[in-house]
């Protein structure tokens, strides 16, 4: 055992260790802190050695978990000590005690910088380490350039350079602009030629961070990464000291493959071939061996290779190899490998066409659900959740239910939530769904959130064929001896609403139902009593004429609660009591609850929120990011009629009263409280859906009682007809029904899609239409994704394409109905016959309930989609430009009323429309020259040249010259560009990515007013 080399420190550590208990330890530590504090106070008398010793003691005390709120200054000041031993202590202790947000750290920036730019290599290392570990934004701004210099310096030793690389990585994370300097990408590529593997490893980490944000700039690094990987995997020219258990630096291998995963593809066939050979070698050549460390290392590489193969979406041959490997892994005994096997299989779900192979392993995955290790169980749960679909939902959900009783408490909530979501999403039939949820409540009531039972009530309410089944089930559960309170709530609610449907069966008479429910009454808490009261009222309502005995029983209860301290209970009982004495009209007043408006499942929303804290990488989210299909389910949705979602408010019940005063407007709704308010409607019973719409604006999340606890402000006249005050709550029926409002701005969506190739074209509460497009020369293939957001089918779906004359469009068959929660894909083939700016229209209609919805949507098959960016050199440009000498091939126009744009922004705009701006062609910096190729059947590929001359003094006008070999094309393109310049569509602001090569003046980032930034404009202003 080595001692610290400082006697005082060793003694102190021993003392602390010898303390018998926490109290003693605290005393000893307090004594020492007092000592250190006094010593620091008269700093003059401290020798460097002593200062060093006390700072170490502070760190030790800090590590033990005590607050050390002084002495930071002393630690920081040691950094500027001239000698190595003190300086080193200063650096290490500062890096441990402080974090990047600490004020003291600022004081050190100058000293640190001096050490970095100084000649002393050891000091450089210390300083780089500190900045790398705790440097913040300020450090990034003042030190990045120096650190960069060290990294690429040829005179620095590897020792310094590898630290500089990681230090720069830290600074880049704090402020990405620090490496956005010209030519950095080339430097980065050079760094990858590094011979020293230590420097190469650090540089590779830096590259991973850089490409993860912007791979475009680093294409030149790709072949070098492949070379490095090849060299490592074949163990060519790797020094012995850089192998780890016989494996050439597994860390560098992993990092390299990680970097490669950020490039979308590997285009060069040779590079691709070599890469695949290496990957193949890794996949095939990794065996399980005895030595655990060697195993860990080789599998670290293997799993990274798997991820890379998945990413490159290789030939199916390799993919199935991966699935086979993973299938093997999830069955091995080694827990790490099993864990990672499950995890990677979950990731694999996102690759198309392998789901079926994964399903073959279902039994094995279910076994892992019972693993003794909770980490593995979590992975298994996630995987099962992700792989669940209509075909296996029954098996998986039942497995989850079974597991629920034995699962640890830490997992039950997540488990029940997931089971509920799967049951909802993939229920083969709805009665099964009801079964699952009731079982869930039965087995894990404590872990079933309100959302889950609200949802089942919504389903039952909205599906008539389910109601009597649910009522029978509810009664079954209620007769069990000890049931969870949530079960009492849901059963009481369902029996109250739908128990009467079964009245003819033995055991279902109102009296019997009441008895069964009321038996649970003594066991429930105040939150349940309002629900029971509603049920009683409903039961009573269904026994017209009332049975005197039952009526008395229920009235006694109402009477009893009329003086209850809980205001909700009190009000309900008072109101129900009064209402129930109205005799037959009770029937109308307490009619069945109307259908709930369709909305996003609160469960699924909750699952997303839960992800943030429970850390589970749920497949649903991953998939949602990947494909549009589930995006449907997770989109932020507003309830119908465009009203903002309100917190769940349960209206007591919908009351129908033959009424005479029906006048109000929806705007007043906010003023009244739905509880206890009477709604009125026209005498003739309107259809269910209209009531549904009526309630839509109120946003019912759950059944009554459970949530609304707020004090009532609506006055209610117990006796007699509703007073005028109530009328305020009314909604004119006709006005509200049938208006399905789109979500989001249709125009904005269209313009956004003109610039990109996938996104949402249209959305309303019922349907989402997404588009994904691919364009090749004069042809295009669009896929329309029609997603039904509801739990009911959408019928009479019709999609008609109204193509303009220049486009030939063929839409594949659109099914007439879209099943609940399903998405259908309809490919649409487009062929461009000749240049034109006309736009195709999609006439889309569907029927939801009685409502027919019809929308006409512009399709983003616009002129610029048939453009292909091309860069021309001056040698190509000028002869062409001259040969197209004048109208009609070359047209010129002065455009006025242009939205003023700084030149770089205009260049960006051109680039987004696939008109490549060619900087340097025009010597005048106020001008832009762009080129592109247009494709259509008649023109074939045709080069188009554009020149924009701007007036620095007046940005609202410019002169535009467009030239091409086809007169129509020239004209159409000119008009097209004009449209874009005159009214800039409100498309989402594209980040000024490096994809768009900035024109010569791009360095000047010009905030408005743009003109004043332009040198020419400044000059003009002066003159």
């Amino acid at each position: 055992m080595a001692l610290s080399g400082m006697r005082g420190l060793s003694v102190f550590i021993s003392d602390v260790r010898n303390c018998q208990n926490k109290e003693q330890e605290r005393l000893r530590v307090d004594k020492e802190l007092g000592n250190v504090r006094t010593r620091f106070k008269n700093e003059k008398g401290l020798s460097p050695y002593e200062k060093k010793k006390y700072v170490w003691k502070m760190l030790y005390i800090y590590m033990l978990g005590y607050d050390v709120d002084f002495g930071h200054m002393e630690a920081v000041s040691l950094i500027s000590a001239p000698k190595y031993p003190e300086k080193q202590v200063g650096y290490i202790v500062t890096a441990c005690l402080l974090n990047e947000n600490h004020d003291f750290l600022r004081l050190a920036i100058n000293t640190v910088r001096n050490d970095i730019i100084g000649r002393n290599e050891t000091f450089q290392c210390l300083a780089l380490t500190l900045v790398g570990n705790i440097g913040g934004r300020e450090f990034a701004e003042s030190l990045a350039a120096d650190v960069q210099k060290l990294l690429i310096s040829s005179s620095c030793r590897p020792l310094v350079r590898k630290k500089a690389a990681l230090c720069l990585l830290r600074l880049y994370r704090k402020n990405p602009d620090v490496v956005n300097v010209d030519g950095w990408a080339d430097r980065m590529a050079q760094l990858l030629d590094e011979r020293d593997l230590g420097v190469l490893t650090s540089s590779m980490s830096l590259l991973v961070a850089l490409v993860s944000n912007n791979h475009e700039a680093y294409w030149s690094c790709l072949p070098k990464c492949v070379k490095t990987l090849e060299r490592l995997a074949r163990n060519q020219d790797i020094p012995q000291e850089y192998t780890y258990y016989g494996i050439p630096s597994p860390w560098l291998q992993v990092k390299t493959m990680r970097a490669l995963q950020y490039f979308p593809t590997v285009e060069d066939p040779n590079t691709r071939r070599s890469l695949f050979e290496v990957l193949q070698r890794i996949l095939m050549g990794t065996d399980v061996v005895k030595n655990v460390n060697k195993n860990n290392a080789s599998h670290a590489v293997l799993f990274e290779a798997l991820a890379l193969v998945m990413h490159l979406d290789a030939e199916k041959e390799m993919m199935s190899q991966c699935v086979a490997l993973l299938g093997k892994f999830i069955a091995v005994r080694e827990p790490n490998i099993r864990y990672l096997g499950l995890e990677n299989m979950t990731r694999m779900l996102m690759v198309t066409d392998v789901q079926d192979i994964i399903k073959r392993h279902q039994a094995q995955i279910i076994t892992s659900l019972k693993d003794p290790d909770i980490s593995i169980r979590r992975r298994a749960l996630d995987l099962l959740y992700g792989m669940c679909d209509v075909s296996n939902a029954k098996d998986i959900v039942e497995e989850l239910l079974q597991y629920l009783s034995s699962a640890d408490f830490a997992m039950r909530e997540e488990l029940s939530l997931k089971a509920a979501i799967l049951a909802e999403k993939f229920a083969p039939d709805l009665s099964w769904y009801v079964d699952v949820i009731l079982q869930l409540i039965d087995k894990a009531g404590d872990f079933v959130s309100d959302d889950i039972w609200f949802r089942v009530v919504q389903f039952v309410t909205n599906n008539e064929d389910l109601q009597s089944y649910a009522a029978a089930k509810a009664r079954e559960y209620l007769t069990k001896p000890a049931i969870h309170e949530t079960m009492v709530k849901v059963s009481a609610y369902i029996l109250g609403e739908y128990g009467h449907l079964l009245a003819r069966r033995p055991g279902y008479s109102p009296k019997e139902l009441f008895t069964i429910i009321h038996e649970k009454h003594p066991t429930v808490s105040t939150s349940t009593i309002p629900i029971l009261l509603s049920s009683y009222a409903k039961i009573l309502m269904h026994t017209q004429p009332p049975e005197p005995e039952l009526q008395n029983q229920i009235w006694t209860i109402f009477n009893k609660y009329e003086s209850c301290i809980d205001v909700e209970i009190q009000q309900r009982s008072a109101e129900y009591f009064a209402l129930s004495r109205k005799g037959a009209s009770l029937m109308d007043i307490l009619a069945e609850m109307p259908k709930f408006p369709e909305r996003q499942s609160a469960l699924i929303r909750k699952a997303e929120d839960a992800e943030v804290d429970t850390a589970e990488q749920s497949a649903i989210k991953l998939r949602a990011q990947q494909q549009m299909s589930t995006a449907l389910v997770v989109t932020d949705q507003r309830p119908p009629n465009g009203m903002p979602a309100q917190p769940s408010i349960g209206p007591l019940s919908l009351v129908k009263v033959p009424s005479e005063t029906v006048d109000s407007n929806p705007g007043d709704q906010g003023l009244t409280h739905p509880n206890g308010v009477v709604y009125k409607e026209d005498p003739q019973p309107p259809s269910q859906d209209i009531i549904g719409d009526l309630l839509g604006t109120l946003s019912i999340e759950g059944p009554p009682g459970a949530v609304a606890q707020s004090p009532q402000n609506a006055t209610y006249e117990a006796e007699g007809a509703p007073s005028a005050a109530d009328a305020a709550a009314l909604v004119p029926v006709g006005e509200e029904s049938g208006s399905v409002q789109p979500i989001g701005n249709i125009n904005e969506r269209f313009y956004a899609l003109c610039l990109k190739d996938s996104g949402v074209l249209y959305e309303d509460p019922n349907i989402q239409i997404g588009i994904k497009a691919e364009w090749r020369a004069h042809q295009g293939r669009l896929v329309l994704f029609l997603g039904n957001k509801n739990t009911a089918s959408l019928g009479s779906v019709q999609a008609l394409i109204l193509p303009p004359t220049h486009l030939k469009m063929e839409l594949s068959l659109v099914p007439e109905t879209i099943p609940p929660r399903a998405q259908v894909q309809c490919p649409l083939e487009v062929m461009n016959l000749r240049p034109s700016r006309d736009v195709a229209v999609l006439d889309f209609s569907y029927k939801f309930g009685p409502t027919m919805v019809n929308v006409k949507l512009r399709l983003p098959a616009v002129l610029n989609k048939f453009l292909q960016p091309i860069t021309v050199s001056p040698e190509e440009f000028f002869p062409q430009w001259r040969s197209l000498s004048g109208p009609p091939l070359k047209l010129q126009e002065v455009v006025r009323g242009v939205r003023p744009l700084p030149l770089p922004e205009m260049a960006n705009l051109f680039n987004t429309y696939r008109l490549t701006v060619c900087p340097g062609l025009d010597p005048n910096p106020n001008n832009l020259v762009a080129s592109t190729t247009f494709y259509s059947e008649t023109t074939r590929a045709m080069l188009c040249l554009v020149r924009i001359e701007t007036d620095p003094a007046d940005r609202t006008q410019l002169r535009m010259t467009v030239a091409s070999g086809d007169p129509t094309l020239t004209f159409e393109l000119k008009e097209f560009i004009k449209e874009q310049l005159v009214s800039i569509p409100t498309a989402p602001q594209r980040p000024q990515g490096p994809a768009a090569p900035p024109p010569p003046v791009a360095q000047i980032t010009a905030p408005p007013p743009a003109a004043s930034q332009d040198p020419g404009a400044l000059l003009a202003g002066l003159l």
Partner: protein
């Protein structure tokens, strides 16, 4: 990226902490408390990974000491497990069959060694030889400074200061 490194003894005593992401003092103690509760209670034959607050904690036990590193979900867990072992091997070579007491009395050296393995939460050097060589240079520099300080000339300088 590694967010922090923790060395905890079986009794729950902290032997080393290193934070690469900004955690306040309060958060640091909370993290240590929570994680020691989770990690120390795990049985012997389980996997080396724990899921914790949206992160993964990779840990490995050596005798009575748990080495834990917290990483992002997307990171390669086994790679980090290799880093832990690599670090332990360096400690072992440096101290000569390292034990917990070495790390207690020489905690400052442990910090220095860790700085040679990781910077910015990223792996720095995979050659054990390079690191050991650096460490011995470092030690000799401290030694030299000490000798210098005790030399007569320095003593005089001290007195006359």
């Amino acid at each position: 990226m590694i967010h922090f490194v923790l060395l905890i003894s079986r009794q729950g005593k902290v032997r080393l902490t290193k934070w690469y992401s900004p955690y306040s003092q309060k958060e640091r103690s909370k993290v240590i408390r929570e994680l020691s509760g989770i990690v120390l209670n795990r049985g012997p034959k389980l996997c080396n990974f724990v899921e914790w607050r949206g992160h993964r904690v990779v840990y490995r036990r050596y005798a009575g000491l748990y080495f834990c590193m917290c990483i992002d979900e997307a990171d390669n867990e086994l790679e980090v497990l290799d880093i832990i072992h690599h670090f332990v091997e360096i400690l072992d070579r440096y101290f000569g069959s390292v034990c917990e007491l070495d790390l207690i009395f020489n905690f400052h050296k442990a910090y220095y060694i860790l700085d040679e393995v990781l910077i910015a939460g990223e792996f720095q050097e995979s050659s054990k030889r390079t690191i050991i060589r650096l460490l011995s240079t470092h030690d000799s520099m401290v030694e030299m400074a000490k000798e210098e300080a005790t030399s007569i000339g320095n003593m005089i300088a001290q007195v006359t200061k």
